[in-house]
């Protein structure tokens, strides 16, 4: 089933377009990894889907309805977002995760059902041991997991994430990707921007490459992650092998000095 359908989208800031998409659909149950160089328009695409930004022209449909016709309060029960927190305030982890219930109970006080969702989100992300800690005291890995737990407490069908594993070490990065995988397997649609192509390859069912505001390629990791595609996308030289264990493609970039000495 089609979840999102973007048609003739042009989007940007101060009326200058930085992203142009002729047509793109995202289906229920997809695990989409968006990759591409800095400034290519990845975050712009995610902001459009999160409705933080409105397109300059074109339409985005969510389940066949124009998203501008859906009230923000209703949309927030369908799609949640994990983006960098602008301000880290001294809330406890538990009360921050509880904010995720806001779209379901904006005015009324939280019901046992809400508390159940909060508890489950906390367990899902393995943050029970820090639930009384204040956000200001967390490491970046912990903060990211807390932020994801907050989005999970929102109980939405679709989760959008902007670089959830940047700045994290391999252990924490994989822990977060494992959470997303588990979530995807339970039926959620995941759309995430990733900088690490190999992580995208291992976890995502679909890769969208964006270059200079256009969709450059779109397909399964096996189809998309070829040395021709990656070299053209990032203007670099690289090798692509197959991970012998997972069978997924993985990318080795070749540094400039090595390239020179080998030629």
């Amino acid at each position: 089933m089609t979840l999102f359908e973007c048609t003739n989208i042009s989007a940007g800031y101060n009326k200058i377009s930085v992203l142009d998409i002729v047509h793109c659909t995202i289906n229920t149950g997809d695990f989409v990894g968006i990759i591409g160089p800095n400034g290519a328009g990845k975050s712009t695409l995610l902001k459009l889907l999160a409705r933080i930004l409105s397109p300059l022209s074109g339409t985005i449909a969510y389940k066949q309805n124009d998203i501008t016709a859906i009230p923000h309060s209703v949309y927030a029960t369908q799609v949640s977002s994990v983006m960098d927190i602008e301000r880290v305030l001294p809330y406890t982890v538990e009360s921050f995760v509880a904010l995720g219930r806001f779209p379901h109970a904006a005015i009324t006080s939280l019901t046992p059902h809400d508390y159940k969702a909060i508890d489950e989100a906390i367990q899902y992300c393995n943050i029970e041991h820090i639930k009384q800690k204040k956000l200001t005291r967390l490491s970046s890995g912990e903060l990211q997991r807390v932020n994801i737990a907050r989005a999970l407490a929102q109980s939405t069908e679709c989760v959008l994430l902007d670089e959830p594993v940047s700045h994290l070490d391999i252990y924490h990065a994989y822990a977060i990707m494992d959470i997303l995988k588990k979530l995807n397997e339970s039926g959620s649609t995941i759309i995430t921007i990733l900088h690490d192509i190999n992580i995208a390859s291992e976890y995502c069912s679909r890769i969208i490459g964006i270059k200079a505001g256009n969709i450059f390629f779109d397909g399964t990791p096996e189809e998309c992650i070829t040395y021709q595609n990656i070299e053209a996308l990032f203007d670099c030289v690289c090798l692509v092998y197959t991970n012998p264990i997972s069978g997924k493609p993985y990318v080795y970039p070749v540094p400039e000095h090595v390239k020179k000495s080998r030629l």
């Binding site: 949309y75 602008e86 904010l99």
Partner: protein, 320 residues
């Protein structure tokens, strides 16, 4: 999971401290009448003096509470630790209005001040709406307009008689002895209503304080942001009409309370009580340290508030 308690114990403790401080404030003043003399004797003069002090203490409490609540809301809306009730230029507008009233020897200083404040907010509101309530844009617009208005006040001073300048300056520094006591019920009720509405939106404020994008993705539209903007602005304008400009309470009280707990279900009521108490203390100090003269409470809150906050900053820097 246990329910998030609003920490009834802490709130009760603050209330008790507040009542105790009020009792002390009622017992201090230019004439030696204490609460005890009210209980023991039945002198009608003592009763009258206490009633006068009660009115003043009550006014200080209401204004302090309103400023603290308004400060909480602005700090959430503008996502800036320096945001306070006067960031949008309400003080500049009110000062401008009040100066005109005092210079033209009009008796309706508070009406002029209120109108000055509200007109400023209306201008800022329309600018803010065009900027999609972008916090930095609102702050810069407020500061710019504030400069225009305070320069206008200085321009008025340049042509005014010295005694009117002195009177205006005392008003600008938040002098509770010049407050509008005849309308105290009106001030108190409107502040109470605005605070109650703000409390109703406490979860909105929690979400908004984490950022504009965060608010959007949780389903908060500009209608809620505009509502909260007006609650805080009106509360500030009312305080300005009642007592003039009293700085710092609206800035430091929310910060100090936030070091205990940041959730607005706690922050709003506790800030209100703490803000009210702070101003009662400041006013009591102001009218008792150099008796029979009075120091405007705006000066006291700025002076002692500044020192207190520096200490807090140095000792609890991680909590901010």
């Amino acid at each position: 999971m246990k329910k998030f308690s609003i920490n009834i114990g802490a709130i009760l403790a603050v209330c008790a401290a507040c009542v105790f401080i009020m009792a002390i404030a009622l017992s201090i003043g230019a004439s030696h009448v204490t609460l005890l003399s009210l209980i023991s004797g039945t002198s009608s003069v003592a009763t009258q003096i206490i009633m006068l002090r009660l009115l003043r203490v009550f006014m200080a409490f209401v204004v302090g509470a309103a400023l603290a609540v308004s400060g909480c809301i602005f700090q959430a809306l503008l996502k800036n630790p320096l945001a306070e009730p006067y960031t949008l230029g309400v003080s500049g507008g009110a000062a401008f209005g009040a100066s005109i009233a005092i210079i033209t020897a009009s008796s309706a200083v508070s009406v002029y001040a209120f109108l000055g404040g509200v007109l400023t907010v209306i201008i800022i509101f329309f600018i803010a709406r065009t900027m999609q309530f972008h916090p930095t844009a609102i702050i810069l617009a407020g500061i710019s307009l504030g400069f225009v208005l305070s320069s206008s006040v200085l321009l008025i001073f340049a042509f005014a008689k010295p005694d009117t300048i002195h009177k205006t300056l005392m008003w600008l520094s938040g002098d509770l002895s010049m407050a509008q006591y005849e309308h105290i019920t009106l001030y108190a009720t409107s502040i109470l209503v605005l605070t109650a509405i703000a409390l109703f939106f406490h979860r909105h404020l929690d979400i908004i304080s984490f950022g504009t994008g965060f608010a959007t993705t949780h389903g908060i539209g500009t209608v809620h942001i505009a509502t909260l903007f007006w609650i805080a602005s009106l509360a500030t304008s009312i305080t300005v009409a009642a007592t003039g400009i009293i700085g710092f309470v609206g800035l430091i009280v929310p910060h100090a309370v936030r070091t205990i707990k940041a959730n607005h279900a706690f922050l709003l009521p506790v800030s209100a009580i703490a803000g009210g108490t702070t101003l009662v203390v400041a006013d009591t100090i102001g009218r008792s340290i150099v008796m029979p003269y009075e120091i405007p409470s705006g000066i006291i809150t700025g002076f002692f508030g500044g020192i207190f906050f520096l200490i807090l900053l140095l000792t609890r820097k991680d909590a901010l």
